[in-house]
Amino acid sequence: MTNKDLLIEKFLEHTLSAEEQLEFDRLLQSDAAFQQEFEFQKKLKASIIIETREKQKEQLRALEREIATPSRFKYAAAAAIILVVFAALIFALIRPDTDDLYASYYEPFPNLEKPTTRDKTATDLPAKAFYAYDTENYATAAALFDQIYTQQAADYAILYEGLSYMELGKFRQAIQTFELFDFEKQNNYTHTISWYLALCYLKNQQTERAKFLLEEVSLSDSQFKASSTELLEELN
């Protein structure tokens, strides 16, 4: 094994000394054959990793199949499916209109963060964003809150950007925005964002997702507890 091969080996082992690292870098810059061999080994590493992961994926899929349909339930599941199909047909006839529900439950959410001084000349980004929001310039507000989020990933930016999109009738974008929130956090925004996300799903005819979120909010202590409970009842 040549010294160059040894260098590549040590690189992959993470055992290069400082001197060896310099030599490695030098060869990588100047030696075409060395570059080629290194590229080969990099790709080899990637292919082995990908192949190994695929094997493990197959095993997990088999495990999932075991978990998901324990065979003793299969016949019961088949019968249940038939019943569900009938029930769905019936319920489809008396399904509540999601647009109407959205209209009756949606209320614009006020600016609780920065009671603006209505100062048009405010220069900091949050002040500008909230001013736009307060003056119902929702397109501007959305863009500004997005900037704030890009800079600092602030939760309030997620909330108000999503709310702005809702006001603009852009529900897909509102959903994408709200999804940026880390729902494992239990803070002042969690249930507000969940509530409005639920309303977006409702508007988008994704009732099951809406119900899931509404259930969580109805169990919380937030200001939307009562509304979620009511809305859930109407959906069920």
């Binding site: 790709k43 990637a46 997990l60 994408q176 994704q206």
Partner: protein
């Protein structure tokens, strides 16, 4: 050795029962969390499986040794990152590049998976004998040092291992060449 350390050791050795058990015990909570996003159930399961694979991979690379948090927490961190990645890919979110949490290592090799050369290598790798696959996996996948591989596979010494590795790679190159 406490329970968490024991589980990590089992994961590092690829113990299937332990992997199964970790899979089953975290599954509901993950699905529950992921349901609020605009992802269909099949994809949720797919992402969960990827997270479990990442967990076991990192365990094998020794990255979980001395883990301060719970395994579930670690798994969840990876999972949440993967959910976000999935959302971004499928919707062209022109939004913030969420960074992978500092204490997690993960590369999805998305580009490499599309590379034809990599695909050929994968196919040829599968044709190698079991011993070659073992040696190469320990070195390239588990990132074990050669000294450790000598011990793990009970080779008489490092030179014997090195020449085996050399032969395996030479064989692989031939297989790739024949495949063209």
């Amino acid at each position: 050795m406490n329970e968490a350390e024991h589980t990590i050791k089992q994961l590092r050795e690829g113990d299937e029962l332990t992997i199964s058990s970790v899979y089953k015990s975290n599954r509901e909570k993950f699905i529950s969390y992921a349901r609020r996003f605009d992802i269909n159930r099949e994809d949720i399961i797919d992402i969960y499986q990827d997270a479990i694979i990442a967990l076991t991979e990192n365990a094998k690379k020794g990255l979980l040794d001395g883990l301060k948090s719970e395994i579930s927490t670690y798994l969840f961190s990876i999972g949440k990152y993967m959910i976000y990645n999935h959302l971004k890919k499928n919707k062209n979110l022109p939004l913030f590049e969420k960074n992978i949490p500092d204490d997690i290592t993960w590369n999805d090799y998305a580009e490499e998976m599309q590379d034809d050369e990599v695909r050929r290598m994968k196919a040829s790798f599968s044709k190698l004998g079991e011993q070659c696959q073992k040696v190469l996996r320990l070195f390239y996948y588990e990132e074990k040092k050669l000294d450790d591989i000598v011990t793990a596979l009970a080779y008489s010494n490092k030179d014997v291992l090195k020449s085996q590795k050399s032969r395996c790679i030479k064989q692989l190159k031939e297989l790739i060449q024949n495949d063209k």
